[in-house]
Amino acid sequence: MFSVDIDKQLGDFTLSVAFQSDAGVTALFGPSGSGKTSIVGMIAGLIKPDRGRIVIGGEAVFDSAAGINEPAHRRRIGYVFQDGRLFPHLSVARNLDYGRWMTGLPRDEAQFGHVIELLDIVPLLKRRPGALSGGERQRVALGRALLMKPRLMLLDEPLASLDARRKSEILPYLVRLRDDTRLPMIYVSHDAAEVKALASRVVLLDAGRVVSNGGAELL
């Protein structure tokens, strides 16, 4: 479903990784500073790799040899950030609808209803992000990314900013999401328990390189 083969020099740090996966959740696992977030940023189109090729669902979104570099806003890749990044000036409902609005997709009430049900955000719709708890914010961020009908979901340590109790509160939603949507997902984490609960494939990273690549038994 997707393949990544990229090089990037970031100051003194050399990132050079290649991995691929099909459906299901692929975890990028490694200590902080191993380049996980940079990889995800390059897949999303927020950082430009120096060289390489990124293919999603058969379409090259980046290919340095062929001169392809699809801008982030045309890649249709859902991105859930560690810090949520909800738009503070928009209500939860408008945040959720933002991707559909920007991509010009027709309204899909069925999907909207389904997603807000799945993530239990119905009672939050009229609120502003400033009035949400950390866990609620991440659920809304998940919904917002899902509702743009992405081809691939990137989850960059979506639980890292939450305390242990909140984490265990959100994890079941991620499992539901995985089983319900069958979207390919890349899940960035340095928490082995999270990865074991979610991922079918694991890419182990260290210092900008892939150390090993296989099933969840790697952990």
């Binding site: 927020l46 806003h73 990044r85 503070p88 000036h89 933002y98 920007m102 502003r128």
Partner: protein, 230 residues
Amino acid sequence: MFSLSPEEWTAVALSLRVAAVATAVSLPLGIAVAWVLARKSFPGKTLLNAFIYLPLVLPPVVTGYLLLIAFGRRGLFGAWLESVGIVFSFRWTGAALACAVMSFPLMVGAIRLSIEAVDRKLEDAAATLGASRTWTFATVTLPLALPGIIAGAVLAFARALGEFGATITFVSNIPGETQTISAAIYTLTQVPGGDAQALRLVVIAVAISLLALVLSEWFGRRAGARVHGV
């Protein structure tokens, strides 16, 4: 005890019109320039920045004279502008141009700060959700910078109301056409017995400026609450 003569009314109305037009017309350009200065790096940026802040440090008479050289009837662009129907010299439009130029640095400064304060991570998030640069600016950057934009506009309006030196140099002091409150006060203080009239205009100038500042504070707080609101 406090009634204005028709001439005084004319000066007040003209001042308000000149300041409002100067602010409204320069606002889009001010936002664009502020965005470029806040978000872009390019060769010559320091120079552009210095050029925009120039009216703040130049003697207003010099700015007015430069406007005369550039936009006067026989100026560098004056003849060409006149051929397309735009005349600045000795018109209220020229007063508005002088006010716009003089208040532009204040406007750009306030807006630039507010754009710099917008978290670029939110702009990245908008891009991943399918928003092009333009849409990101319109739906994320601009609304989040709104309190600063309002503050910048009000500051520019207040500065434009008080403009004197550049205006009088560029378009002179013609009652009903280019004689703003400031110019009228100046004229009244030059004639015997004009003190009482001058004082009335001074009170009005103070009242308008105070009102503008109070309004900007209020709008700014409201917009701030909306933007960061709960």
